[in-house]
């Protein structure tokens, strides 16, 4: 049985769902959770339900807001004191940012953005997409422990069953150390929706959207089904959408349950970024568009006709 720590990233004291995905997969080992700052009682109950023996809430000077140096410093001290074999985090914006630094404190390895993993006894082996998913490789860690791993959100799926543990919650003192990069301000993005990398449903537009204004019809559809809106590189390069919305090898790699591609032909670099979506719907006027080779449901038609019909049909279905 390995001794495992899962870092729980929080947003407004709520634990990000990828934490539960990881907990479901490390069931049977000796598992603790650590967060920086408070976790609300509902999230604490869920962590216990999915197998957290202890929940450590690290608090102290300089940890009120995120900083890569501060988070790495605080967790370093905690991990040294407790001694873990493996330390996991979601491959979120902050997980991807500070985990390499944290691993560096231990001269240890970090396997990043794995989409699956298993333990053979106490030995970890993961699946790592390379070239934005054009290729997969087995990833293993070697050298001094602890080993660090970040897991792509939505890739494992929520645990199918519960595995209750004590979930003893404690406040633990920690410090951020000396910070040379400090957040002075956070400028909210235009979208209040879940980020593309964590979204359960994505509606994406391509060059056939013709202009930025036309993305309004995608936003309407997205609002009805609780989706986040994305875009292809062609749409971003044409100025229809910002780069933060780009899906593909030079944008974001996504794996939602449902991906609806509207007017996207399916360039190899776009397919690489969305091919792990569980269900893909493609709408395109060109019946030979490469996107159809990846689509579970392809509609050969004009997106400007089809998307509003989809919006209406989903409204009817969902009673909105």
């Amino acid at each position: 049985m390995a001794k495992i720590l899962v870092f729980a990233e929080t947003h407004d004291q709520k634990v990000k769902p990828v934490t539960y995905e990881i907990l479901g997969k490390v069931k049977g080992h000796n598992v603790d959770v650590a967060s920086i700052g408070d976790i609300d009682s509902e999230s604490q109950a869920s962590l216990a339900k999915y197998g957290a023996a202890n929940i450590h809430k690290l608090k102290g000077a300089g940890l009120e807001q995120y900083s890569p140096e501060g988070y790495a410093h605080a967790l370093k001290g905690f991990i040294e004191a407790q001694g873990y074999d493996y330390v996991f985090s979601g491959a979120t914006a902050s997980g991807k940012d500070f985990f390499p630094r944290l691993a560096g404190h231990f001269n240890a390895g970090c396997a990043s953005d794995v989409t699956n993993f298993q333990f053979d006894g106490d030995n970890f082996a993961g699946t790592k997409p390379l070239f934005a998913g054009k290729c997969l490789a087995k990833v293993e860690l070697t050298g001094p422990k602890p080993y660090f791993i970040t897991v792509r959100p939505n890739a494992l799926g929520m645990p199918e069953s519960e595995s209750p543990a004590a979930g003893n919650a404690t406040d633990d003192n920690a410090t951020a150390g000396d910070l040379k990069a400090i957040i002075k301000e956070v400028i909210k993005g235009a979208s209040e929706k879940v980020d593309l990398t964590e979204a359960n449903i994505i509606v994406s537009g391509g060059r056939a959207m013709k202009n930025a204004e036309n993305f309004a019809i995608l936003n309407e559809l997205a609002d009805v089904i609780g989706a986040t809106v994305g875009a292809s590189r062609a749409a971003v390069d044409s100025g229809y959408a910002p780069h933060s919305m780009q899906v593909g090898q030079t944008g974001k790699t996504v794996s939602p349950s449902l991906y609806i591609a509207c007017g996207i032909s399916g360039a190899i670099q776009h397919l690489a970024g969305m091919r792990t979506s569980k269900v893909i719907v493609a709408i395109n006027t060109d019946p030979d568009a490469p996107i159809f080779s990846k689509a579970d449901y392809g509609i050969v038609g004009d997106l400007f006709k089809i998307v509003p019909l989809l919006t209406q049909e989903f409204k009817n279905l969902l009673g909105k």
């Binding site: 995120y66 890569p68 500070f98 390499p100 630094r101 560096g104 390895g109 990043s112 953005d113 790592k128 997409p129 390379l130 070239f131 934005a132 054009k134 290729c135 997969l136 490789a137 087995k138 990833v139 860690l141 070697t142 050298g143 040379k180 990069a181 002075k184 301000e185 993005g189 979208s191 929706k193 879940v194 980020d195 449903i201 910002p242 933060s244 090898q249 449902l258 190899i268 670099q269 569980k278 269900v279 893909i280 719907v281 019946p287 159809f292 689509a295 579970d296 449901y297 392809g298 509609i299 050969v300 038609g301 004009d302 006709k305 089809i306 019909l309 989809l310 049909e313 989903f314 969902l318």
Partner: protein, 262 residues
């Protein structure tokens, strides 16, 4: 200022990746190598900083094979002053790469005032080297950077996070800054630039020179394979407007009852 830029050479984004016969890496024979797209933003940012600070030099660093030196020559053609190549196989992990870059910086004899890189390499997609290098050098780092302003040794850096939100950092340099698309518009190398680049110094080091060996490997990749192909899906014809409502109704029904995602 001593400005360093870390670049990587990666397969072109249009490359069809094919695992090699024993699955230990990919077939590299027919690949067109380019400078990692995010690294172009780092080179451009270095040149902008150099232009704003007199007596600055831009040293571009790369760890990788010598099959061709496209990325380094491109960076020098854009305007970087010199280059250091640490010769290595193309399968080093992030830890070895960061340690080799640290060694190359130390070998240069210059104390870095600023280190720039792309936010990630589009082949290994690890997003680790800039942060690891910063940690090894005891420097701060900011990744996924879309805004850069310099005021003496204070930098104001904008980092993109979830939902397109921006974290605005105040950073005391020296620092490692990992650039994303949007920070600037990389220049094209001019013809005179390309000619001049051929005469600029390119130092070659071995992994031994920077004290990196197999013992530094922390992450092992094996069993390279293509992702499983999905079985062919269902395709509906709806170019005729009269068909569209029926098709849409059917697809929505399938999403609910067959795929069970809505």
């Amino acid at each position: 200022m001593n400005i360093f830029v870390c670049v990587k050479q990666v397969p072109d984004t249009e490359t069809k990746v094919q695992p090699n016969s024993d699955g230990s890496f990919i077939e590299t024979n027919a690949i067109k190598w380019i400078m990692n797209p995010y690294d172009e933003f780092a080179v451009e940012q270095a040149l902008l900083v150099k232009a704003a600070n007199s007596d600055s030099t831009v040293t571009v660093l790369r760890v990788g094979s010598v099959k061709d030196t496209e990325a380094l020559r491109t960076a020098m053609a854009m305007g970087a002053d010199e280059a250091i190549l640490v010769e290595a196989e193309d399968n080093l992990d992030s830890y070895m790469t960061a340690k080799a870059l640290k060694g190359a910086i130390e070998k240069s004899g210059k104390t870095p005032d600023l280190i720039l890189s792309g936010k990630q390499a589009i082949d290994s997609d690890a997003l680790q080297v800039p942060q690891l290098l910063a940690q090894m050098l005891g420097l701060p780092s900011v990744s996924v950077v879309v805004g850069f302003e310099q005021n003496g040794d204070k930098l104001q850096i904008k980092r993109e996070v979830e939902g397109g939100s921006l974290e605005v950092y105040e950073v005391t340099s020296p620092a490692v800054i990992a650039c994303n698309k949007g920070i600037n518009t990389p220049r094209y190398a001019s013809l005179p630039g390309i000619m001049k680049a051929k005469k600029k110094p390119l130092t070659q080091l071995s992994l031994g020179d920077v004290s990196v060996s197999e013992e530094d490997r922390r992450v092992k990749y094996s069993d390279y394979k293509l992702p499983p192909e999905k079985p062919a899906g269902k395709k509906f014809e709806a170019m005729d407007e009269a068909q569209a409502p029926g098709v849409v109704k059917e697809v929505v029904g399938l999403l609910r009852n067959e795929a069970k995602v809505i």
